[in-house]
Amino acid sequence: MARRRRAKRDLLPHELVARGPIDLPYLMLLLLLLGMGVLMVMSASYAGGGETPLAMALDQAKYALGGLVIMYAISRYDYQKLRFWSVVLLAVSFVLLVLVLTPLGVARNGAQRWLRMLLFAGPTYQPSEIAKVAIILFFATSLSVRESRKPRRFDRHTPLGSLGNWAERVGLLELGYYVGILGIFAALMLFEPHMSGTVLLFVGAAAVMFVSGISLKLLFALGGIAGVGILGIILLQPYMRARLMGVFDTDISQMGYQSKQSLLGIGSGGLLGLGLGNSRQKYQFLPEAENDFIFSIVVEELGFVGGILILALFMMFVLRGYWIALHARDRFGAMTAVGITTLFAVQVFLNVGVVTSLLPNTGISLPFFSYGGTALIMQLAQAGIMLSISRQIPTPKQD
């Protein structure tokens, strides 16, 4: 103890700041969600998910523990240094995304999204998970200093030059830069293909851009064009249109098998549920019950009350994330927090939306709940960054 106190005294001011207390509400909410998540994986996978009834749950618990250690380590790390590392991380994730497309990538169900930890061996992970965080960090790094960036100048006597000046003035050039980077990453991910990962990549990046004060007109115009384009593609393709329209269809006999089974699970839960462990849908009726559709099992077993409770925890978790962003010491921290938090929020929304048939099936997992080791570790790492940011929140002045 003595050693530590002395050490603290010896710390440089910025190091001292990085040693602030972590945000306890955020941590508590996270631990609650994680605990329930592991418990639900155990219940959902009990009926034949793994080789033994508890195999998957133990697996998930191991990753959760490992993830917590990593989270703590990251929370101790001064996130300011991430400004530098974000560039490296972006470069690394770019390389990894390229590697995925080479024969080194592991394919499952027709999608080549995985790499091995040691390239040729070890457990698999999705480089897109890293890319999502890298983009957020990189954009936050870059956009947090946009105020001090000097505007670019072109020779206004040439037509091209004046066009460039105009573009710079209205912010098109700045936007184009980010959209360009984003586009390259998105293209790589679409090659895998990994639609849901691409969506989340956009979400994280867009949130950072939005919050950075970039021109809303341009952002919305661009988003609008993209949105109209995507909608057009969807409406032009009959099967996608059917999938979209399926959302408004309440006749379950017309639904796709997975959506139908998901609704049956939630519906049979009722107000209070069948009780923990008593799901009937997990007996091979609902595919991937411990994975993307785990929320259906949650509601079936714990009822509407349990489902709402978990949604409420998620809501508080997300709002606390934004709280951290609002109180962050600097713009970089704020933007990073916004990016990560929005990413969590959108994942929850998309996942639960799909499970309840509010949205068409997209294949996005539920943070802290869905089975999957590397994804969980990545989520906990992101939470680690959030906690690291929370350490540097200035203590309110006491009068």
Partner: protein, 818 residues
């Protein structure tokens, strides 16, 4: 410059801009927080409410349908027992062999053959699958003789879990197959599913009463009438299951025990039923009867039916096969007509194409068999109605006696005809019976006398009695499909135009009754006057033997008084002892009865019948036996194709009398002989060999036997018949004096058509003895009809030949009304 200044903001401006950006970031973060932290969650919450609460019941029920399995547990069908507890119908567990092509697919799934690198070993998978299929084919082919081709077809339905390939595997085979299945590890491919099969151990006995079961339950007879009693209540097993069918052991499950059906005990006695059926079958053959016949044996005092035989009949275990030879003959002829009909109609198949000749024959054949089957399943006893003819006179007699319009002092003059409303109706005795007492009129079955009786009674009263005797209503027997006859309306019957109807009704013509209606009405005339409701169900018991229901005799009403009934019984007894029923006589039993020969709608088709009961003073059984259409020797002939005079008295009475005697013997009713009958009763031949003649004579006399001697010795050296042989009393024993008794065999002479004395002489000449039966007295008109031991058969000397006589003078044939 100003532009430039604007582009290069001052420190203050920069601070201001900084502040502004900070504001923007804050604002936009809060916007995001509101949007992603609140709104989206509200949306999710609403949707969750909609699915989990609003649609709760719909989804829960849907989910339960897919995740619970509801299996019906069979209830064992109750047995049908006869009066002695013999099982006429019973159910046993059998097994159906179920093939599960999807089960094989499921067993040899991809996951089973996944190699370490994630690829699937298709070759091995195919090989093992084929191997399994092959052994399934081989086992089913070898054990059950199922054809490979058909099985392969079923096996190829790879999405089907349940293909029944064999029904009704019995115990031995079941055990064997079950072992083979487990030894060969084929449980995923073959399943033995319990099922129930109905057995009828007595085959065709009481077929029309017992009935049979088809896929929908009891189809005929008691099986149908008491379907709800017999079938029981199936139980259920409900359990949660995983997708694919496996039971979830910690899931919801419930078991509702099956309630087995109850057993039904009938009043029918299988032995009496057999006697009735044999009597019926014998008559059908003997008289070349075309349209079958019926035989009912009932307890007159209770209405309990002891036997109810029907011809044509069938084997309950093979109810789908036409067995009666006459029905088969008719079906063959029917096929011809149906073929012609179809051809003329230009029959077409479903697609509208004309049928080929071969198809037409097939179609016609099927239709003919269908008709024949429905005829063989049909119960003539319940469904047929007929003109009862003279058997109905018993009812008219009882009614008139009860009403007091006739008495024993009355005489009836029969000139051979009677004129009613200007129409002459002849008596069967064209020369007329002359002056007769009441009893004589009944003995003669004299139509003019009964027309007079009917008129004395008057149409109104007559109709009252018709109703009282139940001629208008079904009897209410506890079997389905009972018919009732056609009767005039009271208005018509009592009107002037109906006057002739009164006349014909007096001798049982021009209206119809069901056999049961006649029998119950007849019973009421001799059982003390009570119209009983006939029944076949004695009791209902559960599987533990506890009685749930017990039938008691039901008196519909008392129709005539005890005295009237006694008098009718006396008169009817005299019909058998002296009158038209005399061929029904059996020594030792006081049988009463009435013959009947009735016309049908068709010329040369008569129904010959006899109703008899015994003992006359206290009736234990009553029998109705009738044959529908004995074939005539030639059109218009009074004789049948087999040489018998067509009448109830000559055809039916002998058979019915014997049946009554057999039933009484079986029931243990003791014979009571008159003195005359006692003389002719059987005795055992005493030992006289080695005695002198005087001693022998004394010994024989003591046994009511006479003797004649052969040879001239003093001592009896041989005797025929041998010691202990049972011969009728009054027979002559041959004593050999100093000679050896011959030991050769002799041929039985043909006695048919001979009188009593002639027959006895013929037999005695050969050293054979005669046991005569059939009538109570012997005269020039009683002729031998049947004999035990066919003509020419070699038998030992001293053998007793039973000879049945018939009084050929009985004249009760049908007299055409027009």
């Amino acid at each position: 410059m100003a532009e430039r200044a604007a582009r290069r903001p001052s420190k203050e401006q920069r601070a201001q801009q900084e502040q502004q950006t900070k504001q923007t970031i804050l604002l936009r973060t809060m916007l995001l927080a509101v949007f992603f932290g609140v709104l989206t969650f509200l949306l999710l919450g609403w949707k969750l409410w909609d699915v989990a609460i609003v649609h709760h019941e719909e989804y829960r029920d849907y989910q339960l349908r897919q995740s619970t399995r509801d299996i019906t547990v069979r209830a064992n069908r109750g047995a049908i027992l006869d009066a002695n507890g013999n099982k006429l119908a019973l159910s046993a567990t059998v097994y159906n062999v179920v093939l599960s092509p999807a089960g094989i697919e499921n067993h040899f799934n991809d996951a089973r053959y996944e190699k370490k690198d994630g690829s699937i070993d298709r070759e091995k998978q195919e090989q093992e699958k084929t191997q399994t299929r092959e052994s399934v084919l081989r086992i089913l082919n070898e054990m059950l003789g199922l054809e490979r081709e058909a099985l392969e077809k079923r096996l190829s339905k790879t999405t089907s879990w349940h293909e029944v390939v064999y029904y009704g595997l019995e115990n031995e085979q079941y055990k064997q197959l079950k072992q083979i299945i487990s030894e060969n590890k084929l449980t995923m491919a073959l399943e033995l599913e319990p099922d129930s099969k109905r057995y009828y151990p007595y085959n065709g006995v009481a077929a029309h009463i017992v009935g049979f079961v088809n896929s929908k339950g009891g189809a005929y007879g008691v099986e149908a009438a008491y379907q709800s009693v017999l079938e029981g209540t199936p139980g259920r097993i409900i359990y949660s299951r995983a997708n694919g069918g496996a039971q979830i052991h910690n899931g919801y499950s419930d078991y509702i025990q099956a309630q087995d059906g109850s057993n039904i005990t009938l009043t029918i006695d299988a032995n009496i039923q057999r006697m009735a059926e044999q009597t019926l079958a014998a008559g059908i053959e003997k008289y070349d009867v075309r349209n079958g016949g019926i035989c009912i044996v009932m307890q007159p005092k209770t209405g309990a039916v002891l036997a109810m035989a029907n011809s044509p009949t069938y084997d309950l275990n093979n109810f789908g096969t036409v067995q009666d030879p006459i029905l088969n003959e008719k079906a063959a002829a029917d096929k011809q007509t149906k073929y012609q009909q179809l051809k003329e109609q230009g029959a077409r198949n479903d697609k509208g194409e004309l049928l080929s000749d071969e198809q037409l024959w097939k179609e016609a054949g099927n239709a003919a068999v269908r008709d024949a089957l429905s005829q063989q399943w049909r119960s003539k006893v319940l469904n047929d109605t007929y003109e009862p003819g003279s058997t109905f006179k018993s009812v008219v007699l009882a009614a008139a006696l009860e009403a007091g319009v006739i008495s024993d002092r009355d005489t009836f003059y029969c000139p051979g005809y009677y004129v009613v409303s200007g129409r002459t109706i002849h008596c069967s005795e064209r020369r007329g019976h002359g002056s007769q007492t009441l009893a004589e009129a009944v003995q003669n079955s004299c139509n003019p006398a009964f027309m007079m009786i009917g008129q004395k009674l008057g149409a109104d009263k007559f109709y009252d009695y018709l109703e009282a005797f139940g001629v208008k209503d079904p009897t209410g027997i506890d079997l389905p499909g009972e018919g009732k006859g056609l009767l005039w309306s009271r208005d018509y019957f009592t009107s002037a135009e109906g006057y002739q109807s009164l006349a014909t009704a007096s001798f049982g013509q021009r209206f119809t009754v069901s056999p049961l209606q006649l029998l119950t009405a007849f019973s009421a005339t001799i059982n003390g006057g009570y119209l009983m409701q006939p029944y076949v169900l004695q009791s209902v018991t559960d599987q533990t033997g506890a009685v749930l229901e017990q039938s008691e005799p039901v008196v519909v009403r008392q129709v005539v008084s005890e005295q009237t009934s006694q008098r009718v019984a006396q008169i009817l007894e005299s019909v058998v002892s002296e009158g038209t029923g005399r061929n029904a006589y059996v020594a030792g039993y006081r049988i009463g009865g009435k013959t009947g020969t009735a016309e049908t709608e068709v010329a040369d088709e008569e129904i010959v019948s006899f109703v008899g009961f015994a003992p006359a003073d206290d009736p234990e059984v009553i029998v109705l036996l009738y044959f529908d259409t004995p074939r005539h020797a030639s059109p218009g002939s009074k004789y049948g194709s087999t040489g018998y005079y067509i009448s109830g008295g000559q055809m039916v009475a002998p058979l019915a009398g014997q049946l009554i005697a057999d039933v009484l013997d079986y029931m243990g009713v003791e014979r009571q002989y008159t003195k005359e009958e006692a003389n002719a009763a059987d005795v055992a031949v005493p030992k006289v060999e080695g005695y002198d003649l005087a001693t022998a004579e004394k010994a024989l006399k003591k046994k009511n036997l006479t003797y004649r001697t052969v040879g001239k010795g003093d001592v009896v050296t041989g005797q025929i018949p041998a010691v202990g042989a049972v011969i009728p009393g009054n027979s002559t024993v041959i004593l050999y004096m100093g000679e050896q008794a011959p030991t050769d065999q002799v041929a039985v002479p043909d006695l048919r058509g001979l009188t009593f004395d002639q027959a006895k002489e013929r037999l005695n000449a050969k050293g054979l003895y005669m046991r005569a039966s059939g009538v109570s007295y012997f005269s020039a008109v009683t002729k031998a009809q049947d004999q035990s031991g066919g003509p020419g058969e070699l038998v030992d000397r001293g053998t007793v030949i039973s000879v049945r006589f018939i009084d050929t003078s009985v004249n009760d044939s049908y007299t055409p009304l027009e």
